[in-house]
């Protein structure tokens, strides 16, 4: 934490569950046996959800945000189209979330994950591990260097492919803000054929997960840039916590 802003202690805005995928999405077959069938019990935020752990920059290594090099042998680098992925972590009020832990993981440029259960025939890259992390600055800004992941087939329908994507895990300031999502790439036709993408009911919500090509932040002769903002839940002010007219 930078310590410049006083910590916020209000409860989070209610989650708009219609904006997210429902638990049961039969076209994504694994959800069928992994979706709760009973109604969720709604709770207004208690101290248990309003609070959350904070991660200091001391946990970060020098190459944690550089997937091209953080698993590579000395002097080597990962194979693939070099990209910068950057943006801001905001909350629903449009405020930058400072000190948010952003963790990412992805397949290599050929669409292959470094995982023992991965069965795709595409080759492993000996210089690519596939994980990275960073912490947002005082404005909520983050930045990674990586290679563009490839699309890959997966056993769901007879011929389903995942669009190229990067998994994002974001830790804001409260346990209720915890979020995992995926980033897709602008103009990828595979986005609109994917049963996992299609679990999200609203096209505008899906488009929120599509990173835009950002030529202004491209590094000439090195890496293209994609910009991707992430929005976490906002929270109420605590000024009038116990006064109904306050909020």
């Amino acid at each position: 934490m930078n310590g410049k802003q006083p910590p916020e202690t209000g409860a989070f805005f209610a989650r708009d569950r219609t904006w997210h995928a429902p638990a049961l999405t039969p076209a994504y077959k694994t959800s069928v046996l992994r979706s709760p069938q009973k109604a969720l019990l709604s709770l207004d935020g208690t101290i248990s959800e309003i609070t959350g752990p904070v991660f200091g920059h001391s946990i970060l290594g020098a190459q944690d945000d550089d997937l091209i090099h953080n698993f590579a042998s000395p002097g080597e680098s990962a194979i693939g189209s070099r990209i910068i992925v950057h943006g801001r972590v905001l909350d629903e009020r449009g405020k930058g979330v400072a000190g948010a832990l952003v963790e990412i993981w992805q397949a290599n440029a050929g669409g292959r994950y470094r995982h023992k259960k991965e069965g795709y025939i595409a080759a492993l890259d000996p210089n690519f591990g596939g994980c990275g992390r960073t912490i947002t600055d005082v404005h909520g800004y983050y930045r990674f260097r990586t290679v563009q992941p490839g699309p890959y087939p997966w056993p769901n329908g007879p011929n389903d492919w995942r669009p190229a994507h990067i998994h994002f895990s974001i830790f804001g300031h409260g346990f209720a803000q915890r979020l995992i999502t995926q980033m897709y790439f602008q103009h990828d036709p595979m986005i609109w054929k994917c049963p996992i993408v299609s679990t999200i009911p609203d096209r505008a919500a899906i488009e929120q997960l599509v990173a835009a090509l950002d030529m202004n932040n491209t590094i000439p002769m090195d890496a293209r840039a994609y910009s991707f903002d992430i929005v976490l839940r906002g929270r109420r002010s605590t000024l009038f916590e116990n006064r109904k007219e306050g909020n």
Binding site: H20, S31, L41, E49, E103, K117, G129, T199, G234
Partner: protein
């Protein structure tokens, strides 16, 4: 100042089958990137309170343990205080992070956390909540992370007074949140579906 939603929350997507690459890479045999997996150690020194083991399993609709899931827990310290900047009631135990993250044991499907039995923290209405641990579950097939709580079956009086448990309409379902003690280990099976489906929260 009036507050409004000017932006929509980014929609959740499943953590997928390879969540361990990103969140517990050392467990996933991607070594050398991070010195250790975040959340692997909750007790960092001489933490006050009763040291316990929490053993969870997450079971799918066929009662099979989900070995590819990832669980995070978040809890108060022995005095009921959270180790968080948003905690306004005092300083938490400096030797206890309150936050843990684990992959399932590949054979048993069990999630093991070495932790502290939490103290009681107040509900917003002022009444004390019973000791509990917040749980967040992600996995392939789960489109949005599931929030639930672990309570302690041997805290009968506190559980009776707990304002959150009191909101569970079907009283039989209260048992789905109760970890059972054996020695210094509390165990609980979290059922995603079926007659024993765990109470999950929209928090």
């Amino acid at each position: 100042m009036a507050q409004s939603h000017v932006l929509k929350e980014s929609p959740s997507q499943t953590a997928g089958p390879y969540v361990h690459i990103g969140l517990t890479p050392n467990f996933a045999e991607i070594s050398g990137v991070y010195p250790h997996d975040l959340g692997a150690t909750m007790i960092t020194g001489d933490a006050a309170g009763e040291h316990i083991n929490l053993c969870l399993r997450v079971l799918d609709g066929m009662d099979e343990p989900m070995r590819d899931a990832l669980v995070e827990i978040w809890q108060a310290d022995n005095a009921g205080v959270y180790n968080s900047p948003s905690e306004t009631r005092g300083q938490a135990d400096p030797h206890f992070t309150g936050w843990g993250r684990k992959a399932a044991d590949p054979q048993s499907g069990e999630f093991h956390f070495a932790t502290i039995k939490p103290g009681r923290a107040p509900h917003p209405d002022g009444r004390p909540m019973a000791p509990h641990i917040s749980v967040w579950i992600v996995a392939r097939g789960i489109n949005i992370g599931l929030h639930t709580r672990v309570y302690f079956a041997d805290e009968e009086q506190a559980n009776t007074e707990d304002p959150v448990l009191a909101r569970i309409e079907h009283r039989k379902r209260v048992q789905t949140l109760m970890a059972i003690r054996k020695g210094d280990t509390y165990s609980l099976d979290i059922h995603l579906q079926g007659k024993r489906e765990t109470v999950f929260f929209d928090i």
